[in-house]
C-alpha cells in the first residue's frame, strides 16, 4: 500500500472498481465546452462597466462588481417584468394542469371509443408552431378584448403545454397497477377520490415533471407574450431583454445579469429535480 493514487482518480472509480479515465476526460471536455456559455453569462454579469467597455476582453471579472445585478433589481420596469413573467407562467401552468392531467388519466386508463383519436389530437397539436397560431389568435383575442391581459399569452402557451402533459403522463397513468385502483374502489373510494388520493400520488414523478415543464413553458415564452401584450408594462422578462442595447453601446454586463436572473429557475429545477425531469421528458417522446 505504498502507492497511494490521486484522490480524484479514486473518486472516479465506480462501485465495480472501473476507473474509465479516458471516458472521464472526454466527459470533462464536453462539460467545459457546453458550460462555457453559462460561465460567460455569469462572469460577464459580474464585471464593471469600465471592464465591459475596455479594450481587451477579460476571461474573469478583474474588477468584481455587483452593480449590473443592482441596476436590474432597483429598476421598477424590471420588477414589473419579473412579476409579469411569474404571473404568466403560473397562470398558464394552472390552466394546463387543470385540463391536461384529467385527460391524460382518462386516455391512459379507460378503454373508450375514440381513445386513439383523442391521443392523436394531442400528438398533432403538440407539434403546432407558435408562428402558425400567432395571427389567428391575435385577431381572435382582439375581437374578444383579451389583448393586453395575462390571459391572452397564458391561454396560448397552455395550448402547447396541455398536449405535452397528456402525451407525457399517459404512459405514467397506464403503468399504475390496476389492483391499486380496485383496492381503493373496494374500500369505498369514489372515482374522484381515487383520482386525487391514489392515482396522483402514485405518479408523483410525472406530476413534478409536467408542473415544472409547464411553468417553464410560460416562463420561457417570447412569441405569444410579445405579440399579444404590446404595452411595455405588460411584457415578461423575455420580451424586454433588449433594453440595454442602445446606439451608445451595449451594456452587456447588465444584459447578462438580466439573463442570469431569467435562467435561475431553470438551474434551480435542475439542481433539485434533475432525475425526475430527465425521466419525464423522455417518457412521451420516444417509444419504448
Amino acid at each position: 500500500m505504498n502507492k497511494k493514487s490521486n484522490p480524484f482518480i479514486e473518486y472516479l472509480k465506480t462501485p465495480t472498481g472501473k476507473k474509465n479515465i479516458v471516458y472521464s476526460i472526454l466527459a470533462i471536455i464536453i462539460a467545459v465546452v457546453f458550460l462555457f456559455p453559462l460561465y460567460w453569462l455569469i462572469t460577464m454579469s459580474l464585471k464593471s462597466d469600465s471592464e465591459i467597455f475596455g479594450k481587451t476582453l477579460t476571461y474573469y471579472p478583474h474588477n468584481f462588481s455587483l452593480q449590473p445585478w443592482i441596476v436590474n433589481f432597483s429598476d421598477r420596469d424590471f420588477l414589473q417584468s419579473l412579476r409579469n413573467s411569474t404571473l404568466i407562467a403560473l397562470l398558464s401552468m394552472l390552466l394546463s394542469m387543470l385540463f391536461g392531467i384529467p385527460t391524460a388519466y382518462g386516455i391512459g386508463r379507460y378503454k373508450v371509443k375514440g381513445g386513439k383519436v383523442f391521443l392523436l389530437i394531442f400528438l398533432v397539436t403538440q407539434m403546432l408552431p407558435a408562428s402558425l397560431m400567432l395571427t389567428p389568435m391575435y385577431l381572435t383575442f382582439s375581437r374578444l378584448h383579451l389583448l393586453g391581459t395575462y390571459f391572452a399569452p397564458a391561454l396560448a402557451i397552455s395550448s402547447a403545454s396541455v398536449p405535452f402533459i397528456v402525451v407525457t403522463l399517459r404512459p405514467y397513468f397506464k403503468a399504475v397497477p390496476v389492483s391499486l385502483d380496485e383496492a381503493a374502489r373496494i374500500d369505498g373510494c369514489g372515482v374522484i377520490k381515487s383520482f386525487f388520493y391514489i392515482m396522483i400520488p402514485a405518479i408523483r414523478t410525472g406530476i413534478v415533471t409536467v408542473t415544472v415543464i409547464s411553468f417553464l413553458n410560460g416562463w420561457n415564452d417570447l412569441a405569444y407574450s410579445m405579440t399579444f401584450n404590446v404595452k411595455p408594462e405588460m411584457r415578461p422578462l423575455t420580451a424586454n431583454i433588449y433594453k440595454f442595447i442602445s446606439k451608445y453601446g451595449t451594456k452587456w454586463n447588465c444584459i447578462m445579469a438580466y439573463g442570469a436572473i431569467l435562467v435561475l429557475p431553470v438551474v434551480l429545477v435542475f439542481v433539485f429535480l434533475q432525475k425526475q425531469i430527465v425521466g419525464g421528458l423522455t417518457a412521451g417522446a420516444v417509444k419504448e
Binding site: S24, F34, L35, G106, P129, Y138, L139, V162, V263, V286
Partner: protein, 297 residues
C-alpha cells in the same frame, strides 16, 4: 348488469377526457381553421377593423412563391434545419454513447449539459449575439489567440456567416436534447445481448453496427423527426439574435410570417406564410405519428 357497468365506465372515461379535448379544439382547432380562411382573404390592419376584408383565393400563396425574399427564406429554413439535424444528431449520438458508459461523473455531467436545452431561448440567443460579436465577442478573441484567423470574423454582420453562427447556437441547445432522447433508447438495449455478442467475438464496431443500431432504429427515427419539427419552427433564436438579418440571410419561415403579420400588419399574407410552414411540418409530423403510434394498444 355487465352492460350497465361498461356504460358507467365509458361515461367516467369521457368525463375525464373530454374537457381537455374540447379545450384544445377550441383554443387550437379554431385558430387553425381561422388561419386557413385568413390566408385566402386580403385581411390587413385597416380592413380588419372595418370588417371589409374579402376573399381573394390563392392570391397570397402565388404572391409568396413569386417573391424572391420568400424563396430565400424557404431555402434558409431548410438549410438551417438540415444542418442542425446533422450536427446535433451525430454529436448527440456520440455523447449518448459516451454517457451510457459506466463511469462516476457520467450522470452529473449529462445533467449539467442539459441546462442549455432548458433555458429560455431568448437568453441563449442574446448570449450567442454577444459571443459572436465582432470586437466584443469571445469566439473571435479565442480564434485570434489560437491563430486560426488573422482578423476578427464579422459573424453576424456578414450575410455569408450569420446563418452558420445561428446554426451553431441552435446546436448548443439541440445536441443535449438529442443526447437525452438517444440515451433513453440506448439504455433500453439489454447488456446481455451485447455481452453475448462479445463472447461470440464481435468487435465493438460490429456490435454497434449489427446490434445497437438496428435495435435503436425506431428511437433514432423518432429523434430525427422530432428534431426536424422543433428546428423547422425556430423563431425566438433568430428574432433576438439577428432579427432575420443581415439581408434576410437568417430569416426563416417563422420570423418571416411574424414580420408580415406584425411589422407590416398584412395578416392574410402572414397566415399564408405560416401555413406553408405548417404544411412542411405536417408532412414530417405524419411520419412521426405513424412511428410513435405503431403497435401501441
Amino acid at each position: 348488469m355487465k352492460n350497465k357497468r361498461q356504460r358507467q365506465q365509458a361515461l367516467e372515461g369521457y368525463a375525464f377526457i373530454l374537457p381537455g379535448v374540447i379545450y384544445i379544439l377550441v383554443i387550437l382547432g379554431y385558430p387553425l381553421v381561422y388561419n386557413v380562411i385568413l390566408s385566402l382573404k386580403n385581411t390587413n390592419v385597416k380592413n380588419f377593423a372595418k370588417g371589409t376584408s374579402a376573399f381573394i383565393g390563392m392570391q397570397n400563396y402565388s404572391n409568396l412563391f413569386k417573391d424572391p425574399t420568400f424563396l430565400l427564406v424557404f431555402k434558409n429554413t431548410f438549410i438551417f434545419t438540415i444542418a442542425c439535424l446533422i450536427v446535433q444528431f451525430s454529436l448527440g449520438f456520440l455523447f449518448a454513447i459516451l454517457f451510457s458508459k459506466d463511469f462516476r461523473i457520467a450522470g452529473p455531467i449529462r445533467g449539467l449539459v442539459l441546462v442549455g436545452y432548458m433555458m429560455p431561448m431568448s437568453v441563449t440567443a442574446m448570449l450567442g449575439k454577444n459571443m459572436f460579436g465582432v470586437s466584443e465577442g469571445v469566439i473571435n478573441d479565442l480564434l485570434l489567440k489560437i491563430g486560426l484567423v488573422s482578423s476578427p470574423v464579422e459573424w453576424l454582420v456578414s450575410s455569408k456567416t450569420a446563418l452558420g453562427a445561428v446554426i451553431a447556437v441552435n446546436c448548443w441547445v439541440g445536441i443535449p436534447f438529442n443526447m437525452l432522447l438517444l440515451t433513453a433508447g440506448l439504455t433500453n438495449i439489454s447488456q446481455d445481448i451485447l455481452d453475448s455478442a462479445s463472447v461470440d467475438g464481435a468487435r465493438p464496431f460490429q456490435r454497434f453496427w449489427y446490434i445497437t443500431l438496428p435495435l435503436m432504429k425506431s428511437s433514432i427515427l423518432a429523434v430525427l423527426m422530432l428534431g426536424f419539427i422543433y428546428t423547422f419552427k425556430a423563431f425566438d433564436l433568430m428574432f433576438i439574435m439577428t432579427s432575420g438579418g443581415p439581408l434576410n440571410s437568417t430569416d426563416v419561415l417563422g420570423t418571416y410570417a411574424y414580420n408580415l403579420s406584425f411589422t407590416k400588419y398584412e395578416f392574410s399574407q402572414g397566415s399564408a406564410a405560416a401555413l406553408v410552414l405548417f404544411v412542411c411540418l405536417f408532412v414530417v409530423g405524419l411520419f412521426y405519428l405513424k412511428l410513435i403510434t405503431r403497435e401501441d394498444d
